[in-house]
């Protein structure tokens, strides 16, 4: 099956799943698992076909030459890594939603989402990129709105509106690019062709900063994260935010390198503010999932800081941290959701001493928490260290303050572990039975495995990440 098939067949499968398996909803999750496995195999297969640098052409479809509107599918190392990450996450999310209600509709929305997100990472025509970019909103809107927690409707509508408004800036920027450079193909656009790169830079920057999200455009995310069902929070953090970061790298940093160099300080400043603001918010929170959500935002601040170096080392660190963040934050969300499901409460004071009741799950929570604060031997450590080093290299020794961000992380994570996992067993916990579905536990175990594996052997990832930016190492920056 070609790249096109992986974008459009999910849409068709999604509709069929919703229609056919309404009565036998258990079948739908096997359909989803089969599809996501195929997608994973396809993404892995792409690695073997990629040329040493540049794009692998997967074909051009639905040509409208008069409007330069081609569905042209091309992948390079960066997008293939994103595709692989996405399919791994989708697979694990499908596993960890094993016992969700109304499964046929849930899984068909998940399948629909997978098609849209593959389109985002594969299409190089700006207009089609935008189409898939917007299309990811629809399944997310329903997934948050139908399966979410108490204030799900508010969160879903806010999420939809907020990110949709941001996308409008992106669309305007794409129009301006087409008007000035004469093409919608992002592989052909060069900064020199543009007459108003500064306007375009700001439009794109704001549009993508909302998705990442960076302070002060982050306010939709705590709501969406908290109200979404736990597996969907994983998708939000692991895929949707990464989509924003991917777009920021591809459309802002690589498409407009000179303007980005000029305004790198904006990215750096917002990254730093996001890191510390979200870190302090996480310390302050007593709501378990909100704490995880702010920790997630805080890590995106790190990602932005690494991006702002605009260097080979910094971009590699960005990509590593993006993957690391996805694997680290996912089990935290899943377990936070699980604790809420079992105890009926979000407040940390109602939990405590869970370790004694559910040792395995708690162990994974502790491991992921330690990953989030950057303990050596986990993915978090490698990511934060490489970001620290690359930013010191680019901006000087004062960037050591980034390490303070990690200390904040240590603060909120260890305090949370103290209140939730260890400590005295609360009345609620005593009464609760913490048995977990074996498939959901399997997903958690895989996440834990990844955290340690890539933490101990980061080169397994850097082997692929470094070539993704090798061709851009000459574009300024430290290296």
């Amino acid at each position: 099956m070609s790249g096109l098939g992986f974008i459009f067949s999910p849409f068709i499968i999604a509709i069929l799943t919703a229609l056919l398996f309404r009565k036998k909803s258990a079948v739908s999750k096997f359909v989803a698992l089969a599809l996501f496995t195929t997608m994973l195999l396809f993404s892995l297969h792409l690695f073997t076909e990629l040329p040493s640098s540049g794009y692998l052409d997967l074909g051009t479809f639905l040509a409208v030459p008069q409007f330069d509107f081609f569905l042209s599918l091309k992948v390079d190392m960066l997008s293939t890594i994103m595709l692989t990450l996405t399919s791994v996450l989708l697979l694990l999310v499908a596993l960890s939603s094993w016992s969700i209600k109304n499964q046929a509709l849930y899984y068909s929305l998940l399948i629909f989402f997978s098609g849209a997100i593959f389109g985002v990472f594969m299409s190089t025509n700006l207009l089609w990129f935008f189409i898939f970019w917007e299309l990811t909103l629809i399944p997310m809107y329903f997934l948050v709105g139908i399966w979410g927690a108490e204030r799900r409707i508010y969160a879903a509508v806010k999420f939809f509106l907020y990110t949709h408004v941001a996308s409008m800036f992106v669309l305007l920027a794409f129009f301006l690019i087409h008007k000035e450079a004469g093409t919608f193909d992002m592989t052909l656009v060069k900064e020199g062709m543009l007459l108003s790169p500064v306007l375009i830079w700001w439009l794109l920057f704001v549009g993508f900063a909302v998705k990442m999200p960076l302070f002060p455009f982050h306010t939709w995310l705590p709501d969406a994260h908290v109200q979404a069902p736990a597996p969907i929070s994983v998708l939000l953090a692991g895929v949707l935010l990464k989509m924003g970061a991917y777009a920021m790298i591809r459309m802002v940093l690589l498409l407009l390198p000179e303007t980005s160099q000029k305004y790198a300080w904006v990215l750096l400043a917002l990254g730093l503010i996001t890191l510390f603001y979200a870190g302090f918010m996480a310390i302050y929170e007593t709501h378990l999932k909100k704490m995880v959500a702010y920790s997630s935002i805080s890590h995106m601040g790190l990602v932005a800081i690494a991006m702002s170096t605009l260097s080979y080392a910094g971009l590699s660190a960005t990509l590593y941290e993006m993957i690391g963040h996805a694997f680290v934050i996912a089990p935290l969300f899943l377990i936070a959701g699980f604790f809420h499901h079992k105890t009926g409460s979000w407040e940390m004071k109602d939990m405590g001493g869970i370790m004694q009741k559910a040792p395995y799950i708690s162990a994974i929570f502790v491991l992921a928490g330690l990953g989030a604060l950057g303990l050596p031997g986990t993915m978090g450590f490698v990511g934060e260290l490489s970001i620290l080093l690359s930013s010191i290299k680019s901006f000087g020794l004062w960037m050591a303050i980034v390490a303070l961000g990690s200390m904040l992380g240590a603060g909120y994570i260890i305090w949370t572990l103290r209140r939730v996992i260890y400590g005295e067993m609360s009345e609620v916990v005593k009464k609760t039975d913490f048995s977990m579905n074996v498939f959901e536990f399997l997903a958690l175990a895989v996440f834990a495995l990844f955290i340690i594996l890539f933490g101990l052997f980061p080169n397994l990832l850097f082997e692929y990440i470094n070539p993704a930016f090798a061709q851009f190492s000459s574009l300024g920056g430290a290296l």
């Binding site: 898939f132 917007e134 299309l135 949709h164 800036f169 129009f175 301006l176 008007k179």
Partner: protein, 434 residues
């Protein structure tokens, strides 16, 4: 070969004899298919002052498809006849090439629109119909006044609108546009539309706001575009102001409305504002395709939304957002179609509404009006607020419906046709750009 107009007009006369007969609907549908074939083979109204081109031909085909779906949905004999009449007047208007044929066919369309809504059953419908009648007569008066000025300035009736001319001709064209903008519901000529669209039967509103308005928009663009392009320094700021006011007002008022039909009416006004961007950006080579795409997308999605609403009101007595709560569990298929058209209206991709907006807005950027496009884009994003809210009521809220089995075969078939149209033009743009 017999022209599409002749087929439709003959059928609408013949259909009068088939009222209360089960043959009426099949015959009308066959006539529409025939008209479609005649359009496809490129026939023109056999009168002086009419011409066609590929764009008009494409739109006529779409129009006939939408009328097909409308008649499939319809259960009132009288409305079927009126729909056929309206179809023939639309073909006339679309193919009109000179000023006199344009004015006459425009009046024909207006009068049939009034006749359509004047089949009154309730007090509300009477209010809507009367408002439309008064506004329509006003508009006609203004248009004719404009024509008089235009002729006084030396214009010709039996020729296309001239682009050069005296001051009187300019005033004449401005007055004509003011009158025509009543039909397009451009603010400040929009007052009647909200009440009329919301109060008359929803299937009539589908025809008025979905079909008649788009036909008028396309025809007006075709006749007036050369003149506007010639006087761009004056027309640009004026029309841009009207566009901004129209879309912003429509969207803002829709946000605070609870009645679904009223929301769709406001959204219809907002869309008139988007269409106006093509008039502003008339210098751009994308303006032609933009207004055509907008018209095609809009005729599918607006008719689809209002026809779905018509079924909802008839079978489930749904009028407000509160009554819509939990409708997805009551009738998932109709909910799906309705949601699809709403997403299209909101400009969500892979649906016609998105690409139509993209082309129109791109025409604006191409003409150098990126600030206008930014306002339009933000408006479009704002509009998601109320569409998403309707969808929220359908899917996220718990409903209080009593389980009720309703058979809706023909309306659902008609919905399916319109949904396929929305999807097709949302993916395949190649057919517009030829």
């Amino acid at each position: 070969m017999i022209s599409a107009f002749t087929i439709l007009f003959a059928m609408s006369l013949v259909s009068l004899f088939f009222h209360r007969s089960y043959l009426l609907k099949p015959l009308s549908l066959v006539a529409l298919l025939g008209a479609g074939y005649a359009t496809f083979s490129g026939t023109v109204v056999p009168l002086i002052g009419f011409a066609t081109n590929e764009q008009i031909q494409l739109f006529e085909l779409v129009l006939e498809l939408v009328l097909f779906a409308t008649i499939l949905h319809e259960s009132e004999d009288i409305t079927i006849t009126q729909t056929l009449f309206l179809g023939s007047a639309s073909v006339l208007l679309l193919q009109s090439d000179t000023l006199i044929s344009f004015i006459l066919s425009f009046e024909a369309l207006s009068i049939i629109s009034v006749v359509l809504v004047s089949y009154i059953k309730t007090k509300d419908q009477a209010e809507g119909a009367v408002k439309m009648f008064i506004a329509g007569s006003m508009a006609t008066g203004i248009v004719l006044l404009g024509v008089a000025f235009y002729l006084m300035g030396g214009g010709m009736l039996l020729a296309p609108l001239s682009t050069q001319g005296s001051l009187f001709m300019g005033i004449g064209v401005a007055l004509m546009l003011a009158g025509l903008f009543y039909k397009l519901t451009i603010v400040p000529f929009h007052g009647w539309a909200i009440d009329t669209y919301a109060l008359v039967r929803h299937s009539h509103a589908a025809i008025l706001s979905g079909v008649a308005k788009t036909v008028a928009a396309l025809a007006i663009f075709k006749i007036f575009a050369p003149f506007l392009a010639e006087h761009i320094t004056l027309s640009m700021p004026l029309l841009a102001t009207l566009a901004i006011i129209t879309m912003s007002l429509g969207n803002f008022l829709a946000l605070f409305t609870k009645n679904i039909a009223r929301i769709l009416s406001y959204s219809s006004i907002a869309h008139a504002g988007y269409m106006l961007i093509a008039f502003v950006a008339v210098k751009s080579s994308y303006a032609d395709e933009g207004i055509l795409y907008m018209a095609i997308a809009y005729i599918f999605m607006q008719s689809g939304a209002f026809l779905a609403l018509d079924s909802m009101k008839k079978e489930y007595e749904i009028e407000t957002l509160d009554e819509l709560k939990g409708f997805a569990s009551q009738n998932p298929i109709l909910s799906f179609f309705f949601t699809l058209q709403l997403f299209s209206l909101a400009g969500i991709p892979l649906l016609a509404g998105f690409l139509a907006k993209a082309v129109v807005f791109y025409a604006g950027v191409d003409a150098g009006l990126w600030w206008l496009v930014l306002i339009a884009l933000l408006n479009s994003a704002l509009s998601v607020g109320y569409y998403a809210w309707i969808i929220k009521s359908i899917y996220f809220d718990e409903g209080t419906f009593k389980a009720k089995l309703v058979e809706l075969h023909l309306p659902l078939a008609s919905q399916a046709i319109l949904a396929v149209g929305t999807l097709f033009f949302g993916v395949y743009a190649g057919i517009i750009f030829r």
